[in-house]
């Protein structure tokens, strides 16, 4: 069973057991506009919850991505290197950024449910 959680900075994490897939929300993708570059973390590196883990550059500006959970990166979405616009096309599925082994599932309590996130962005 997969659970999805959101951050106030518009990242999502889909959690399945101890593994999480991370990306940005459709709302964030629309706000950023045309995405032209993604700097992904290195596999094997570990990040703490809330720490900057990646950078997404739109035509307008660079935006930091903050990890929704602590843990070690075990896969990144290499198709974004050549086609970063996939994030605009499908931010919640094909446009995922990285997969992480979640160190402490208690931290997920700091995140928002889908309902809470929708309230935040006003839909």
């Amino acid at each position: 069973m997969t659970d999805i959680f959101y951050t106030k900075d518009h990242e999502w994490i889909k959690v399945n057991g101890d593994e999480g897939v991370v990306g940005i929300t459709s709302y964030a993708s629309e706000q950023l506009g045309d995405i032209v570059f993604v700097e992904l973390p290195e596999k094997g590196n570990s990040f703490d919850q809330g720490k900057d883990v990646a950078v997404i550059e739109s035509v307008k500006a660079a935006s930091e991505i903050y990890s929704p959970a602590s843990g070690e990166i075990f896969e990144t979405n290499s198709s974004l290197e050549e086609k970063p616009e996939i994030i605009n096309e499908d931010p919640q599925e094909r446009g995922w950024l990285y997969k992480i082994t979640i160190k402490n599932k208690d931290e997920l309590k700091n995140l928002m449910s889908e309902e809470e996130y929708k309230k935040l962005i006003g839909v």
Partner: protein
């Protein structure tokens, strides 16, 4: 990731504000005005449409200033490094206001009108008040400085611009690039200037505020025209290697190092008879200490404003002043200054988030200009 619009009462709306909202614009504050950064198709689509067909930009934030009085051109020559006598009536010239140190107060377009007692200026929005103060300080009080807040300004830019505008105003056909003419349209007067800020052919149209929405709607009836915002305007001018005041040029830069020597009249530098003339004379002849150049970083990461530039031995030699992604070339591009002795190097290194990214140096522009040339 979202930025809220600061509800600051000092930010003004242009006459097209409601029109922009109706057309799903994303509005941001810029230069003291609420303006569209893009519409629903997005910056890249708007950029590409401008290069292939034509787009309308609301540039009503720009200051349109009329100065009237006998011998106004002679008086302005004390302030501007141009020679009005070398310009035909109706011609437009790109120039700069300089201070006594030869540094740039603002860059602007000057129109030599068909009335010898009148000159028309178009200045940057954020510099409007500073420019007016500079004019008041340096012009005799007998000159009337009239800021034309009654006029909006829209830019029609792209290779199809003439074809589109001709349907409304047939007489603009074949108008010379960098020239302007007043036309009567329906029951009002509009000033049409063949110039722009995209590297493409195009027109800037000064039009009474109360008519600008209907005029814009008239233009949009042509299927080749779409709306474009400030985002595309910025990526277009960057590809065209055109300086943006407050970024590539400012009160710390002189026009020689900014690659704007071509815009300065040599006779005037010889005479040193304008404000800043003495200060720039040496660099005009000997060459500048640093140069504004183009950079093509390897890979896909854009090197934005403030990115530091190093040589192969890790010596700091300059800084990026504008940078982003080029939709036309599909790669990142940057403009910036480096110490002149490095200008012929093949490669420099840009520090992007701690990584040294190699970049080729190129002479501007990145994308060749496509200005209108009259067939002889």
């Amino acid at each position: 990731m979202s930025e809220l619009i600061n509800e600051n009462i000092s930010i003004e709306k242009t006459s097209l504000f409601d029109f922009h909202n109706k057309n799903n614009a994303k509005i941001v504050p810029f230069g003291g005005y609420y303006l569209p950064i893009n519409y629903s198709s997005g910056i890249i689509a708007e950029h590409n449409h401008t290069r292939s067909k034509a787009s309308i930009f609301d540039v009503s934030h720009m200051g349109q200033i009329e100065i009237n009085g006998p011998f106004v051109m002679e008086a302005l020559e004390k302030i501007l490094p141009i020679s009005f006598s070398k310009l035909a009536p109706g011609k437009i010239k790109y120039t700069q206001f300089l201070n006594h140190e030869g540094k740039i107060i603002d860059d602007l377009m000057v129109h030599k009108t068909r009335d010898e007692n009148s000159v028309w200026l178009v200045v940057n929005a954020a510099c409007k008040q500073k420019d007016i103060n500079h004019l008041r300080d340096n012009l005799n009080k007998k000159f009337n400085i009239n800021v034309r807040n009654d006029l909006s300004l829209i830019a029609l830019q792209g290779p199809k611009s003439e074809k589109i505008l001709v349907d409304l105003i047939p007489k603009i056909k074949g108008m010379e690039f960098m020239s302007s003419i007043w036309f009567r349209y329906k029951n009002y007067e509009i000033l049409i200037s063949r110039c722009g800020y995209t590297g493409e052919d195009g027109f800037e149209i000064s039009i009474p505020n109360k008519h600008v929405v209907t005029f814009t709607e008239e233009l949009l009836k042509n299927n080749d025209v779409k709306l474009a915002g400030l985002g595309a305007r910025d990526s277009l001018r960057l590809e065209a290697g055109l300086c943006l005041y407050g970024h590539d040029i400012n009160i710390e830069k002189n026009p020689i190092e900014a690659g704007l020597k071509w815009s300065i009249c040599k006779d005037r530098v010889d005479k040193q008879d304008f404000i800043g003339g003495e200060a720039i004379a040496n660099e005009y002849i000997e060459g500048p200490k640093k140069n504004l150049l183009g950079f093509l970083p390897k890979g896909r990461a854009p090197a934005r404003e403030g990115t530091l530039i190093y040589d192969a031995s890790n010596k700091l030699i300059g800084e990026v002043t504008s940078g982003g992604f080029s939709p036309s070339l599909g790669v990142p591009i940057s403009m910036g200054y480096i110490t002149s002795s490095f200008r012929n190097e093949k490669e420099v290194f840009l520090n992007i988030r701690g990584k040294k990214i190699p970049a080729d140096i190129i002479k501007l522009p990145f994308v060749p200009h496509n200005y209108f040339k009259r067939k002889k």
